[in-house]
Symmetry: C2
Subunit: 474 residues, 2 copies
């Protein structure tokens, strides 16, 4: 008998291989040195291997760990402060975002990340300025990070309506250098669990020169560009005014649309523009919850997929989403498109699940390593508790109902166990490698002080939420 | 000191009084004989009363118990079997619904009800044929039921395309008699926790004569009519063909639109029709999740409210929703309307919360007793755990974020405790008065046999889910 690290027994493996969900029963999964080394009949596996850890997950269903491809975890410190308003960023987020310190953001990041883990996310696609701290935390957790330090050249100041952003090449270079430092420090570290991508904030925030320089750097390093792309009418306005073209056309013309690019949001892209991006080989990250809440828009992911593109899901940010729960994003991706097209068949559960697993993995450049359960891939998986009322009753014939119930009914607490690189990081409500209580106590220290600092501007701006406070609607 | 049943201490009471959310802090709530007898400064309450049960809910936020106004709990046995398809009822539900027994439906009801309780629902608006069993179960649970036995006159057989339903007056009378028997047996029973309403299945399923007879009966008994109203193009077709008018116009002409009516769905009603119903004094029940999944439609609740009508929320049925989680319905009511109107302000969190509490209570005829926390009302409330990551961090100044986080971020497991009529029925994951494990074991017995009975028709019809099974997409 060959001695290995782990054997997983379950009646239901959703491997996500093939074009569907790759369901297998009667099999067991053998794991060694962080990778899946065999998935065969249970009796064969048990005959061939003995394992350090025998995980008996009968009564659970096994899925690849979920991928949350686009998160601003630092905004976790401002959860619930900016929804239900027009001009989300200026009138909702502004008064708080202007006063929150780096320490506070880091605390918010930890909160957002534990929330995501507890709902089955194993790969976190964070996208912000504090990625060194986030990398350390993800390393400690044992989770997987696909992390991007933001790069920005535009000066951060108040602009007059219609004014074009001022670029400061020095700021841009400094910002790029920080990203390079992060890359050198963390890329492929933590046993390869952490990858560093390059993150120009958007075509409106950097000069063409700096955009192209970043592209060269990313290609040389064989990593990806993670960029907000035609994310809203503000970006469209800036790019049209500066270059005379809409963002997708501009990016196409400068050679930015290719397999290196992960295009986030495409909120303001029409179907044709989405297809142009998809056909280039670039991928899309769809954040249905946040774009639904802050803009009331369903981005063109269906057109993107029709043109052959891969789409990943993202939970974006907590001031207006307001959660980092990828099950929620699967559900909303499916439901919002049913409504957009008034067609209940346009986006079935399995497609949403693929976006959170194998299609998502391909979209973020990790398709060879994660997103499905097959021999040679990393052992990133979760177990869904089939005894929770939201999953019951379980049918296997004439049809299985576990996937639709996971996508449309599950809440998050059905996630019983999470494994990354063959190591358990979450089990039965508990995150193993960190002290959740300590993180919660820590993040709870800040709101009073942030609130005090934000209060004056909050009431001066007198946005929807200020009015709601006066009208006792909060 | 006056001896009473219960005192509730918390830093955050969302009383839902006034036009907003009626937030109070620094107060405690005194409860005796199932009703709220005082809500004043905590020190005054503690000075004036001593309680059998002192509930210290610091670190929790108190809300009125949620109202789920429209549920077909019996369909709980078929969760996840009918979504992602056109012609939901015929091609999705049909093969299963045709073979499920009464015993199996009753088991499904219990599953659906415990699921709802565990996500904060305290008042259950079930609407089906097995209401005697449901009444007993709700009595035992200690929950509140606003229950409706379906009444139907149309013969259940296969109709040719375009054929008008055949009415059988004998069937109709028998069906009405069963509803009357249920009323006599259960109305105002279980310490008044159970109310019985009358439930004609829809304007297409009963003759005008029987509809009007039911209306007289309901009015004599001062209870409500709970009826699918313009719920889809099939109903519209039937009513137009039979009476030459669309359902809302027909119901208006026969005098059916008034404060006795709870109009469910209005899926096929336009804004003008919704306003006609609202202005009549009738209420609306909006089931965003199920109508979104099965039809891809957002019903006209915004127009209904603009015209002054009260709207309650419902989780409908589990074969295509797929859950009975009223937090999910609050979220979807808000998000779907933001998308429908491409306006993030159209349906803020507090409005969704009002539909699940005070507005919902008014809509279902219980506005004098439940839906808000005020002196004289029944003590139906829940406590939301503010230590769960999805609710954190908690801000109180310059704005409170608990309501948006409850509506947009909470999953369901934030519900820490539920009280109905002053008695705890749910606490820390456990339903107190029944054995949840027994119910789960029981419901798990049936799928194999149901699947066997349904299999032939399932593959003959060859609907989307049959194709998905062949294509390994489930």
């Amino acid at each position: 008998m060959k001695k290995i690290d782990m054997i997983v027994k379950s009646d239901h493996f959703y491997t996500m291989t093939g074009e569907g969900v790759g369901y297998k029963t009667g099999v067991a999964m053998a794991i060694d040195k962080g990778r899946i080394i065999a998935m065969e009949n249970e009796s064969e596996i048990l005959g061939e291997y003995s394992a350090e850890e025998m995980l008996d997950l009968k009564g659970k269903a096994i899925f690849p760990g979920f991928i949350d491809a686009h998160m601003h975890t630092g905004y976790g410190i401002m959860r619930g402060l900016a929804q239900d308003t027009n001009f989300w960023m200026m009138y909702g987020l502004g008064p708080f975002n202007n006063v929150v310190t780096e320490e506070e953001r880091n605390s918010g990041s930890k909160l957002a990340i534990i929330e995501a883990i507890k709902a089955g996310t194993t790969t976190l696609g964070d996208y912000e300025y504090n990625m060194d701290i986030v990398s350390s935390f993800i390393d400690k957790l044992g989770a997987r990070g696909n992390l991007t330090q933001l790069i920005r050249e535009a000066v951060e100041r108040v602009y007059a309506p219609g004014e074009i952003y001022e670029f400061n090449p020095e700021k841009g270079e400094k910002s790029l250098q920080e990203a390079l430092d992060l890359y050198d420090k963390w890329h492929n570290k933590a046993d390869g669990r952490i990858k560093i991508l390059f993150g120009p904030q958007g075509a409106d925030f950097l000069s063409e020169e700096l955009l192209l320089k970043i592209q060269r750097i990313a290609k040389e390093r064989n990593t990806k560009i993670h960029m907000h792309t035609q994310q809203g009418d503000r970006e469209t306005y800036q790019v049209v005014k500066r270059y005379g073209k809409r963002p997708v056309a501009y990016l196409k013309d400068i050679g930015y649309l290719d397999e290196t690019l992960m295009a986030v949001h495409l909120t303001d892209a029409n179907d044709e523009e989405a297809k142009v991006v998809a056909r280039s080989g670039a991928s899309m990250i769809l954040c249905p919850g946040s774009i639904g809440i802050i803009d009331g828009i369903v981005p063109p992911s269906v057109a993107f997929q029709e043109a052959g593109g891969n789409v990943a899901l993202g939970s974006d940010q907590a001031p207006g989403n307001n959660c980092h729960n990828i099950i929620n994003e699967m559900k909303l991706a499916a439901l919002f498109n049913k409504i957009k097209y008034q067609n209940p068949e346009i986006m079935p559960a399995y497609k949403a699940l693929r976006m959170a697993t194998i299609e998502g993995a391909r979209a973020i450049g990790l398709g060879d390593d994660i997103g499905s359960l097959e021999v040679g891939k990393k052992a990133d998986f979760i177990a869904i508790d089939l005894r929770k009322p939201s999953m019951l009753p379980i049918y296997t014939k004439p049809m299985r109902n576990m996937v639709p119930n996971l996508v449309y009914s599950a809440r998050g607490d059905e996630v019983f166990l999470s494994v990354v690189d063959g190591k358990i990081i979450y089990r039965d409500g508990k995150i193993l490698n960190i002290d959740e209580d300590e993180i919660i106590n820590h993040v709870s220290r800040y709101p009073e002080s942030i609130g005090e600092r934000a209060s004056k501007e909050f009431f001066e701006i007198n946005g929807t939420n200020a009015i709601f406070m006066k009208e006792e609607k909060l």
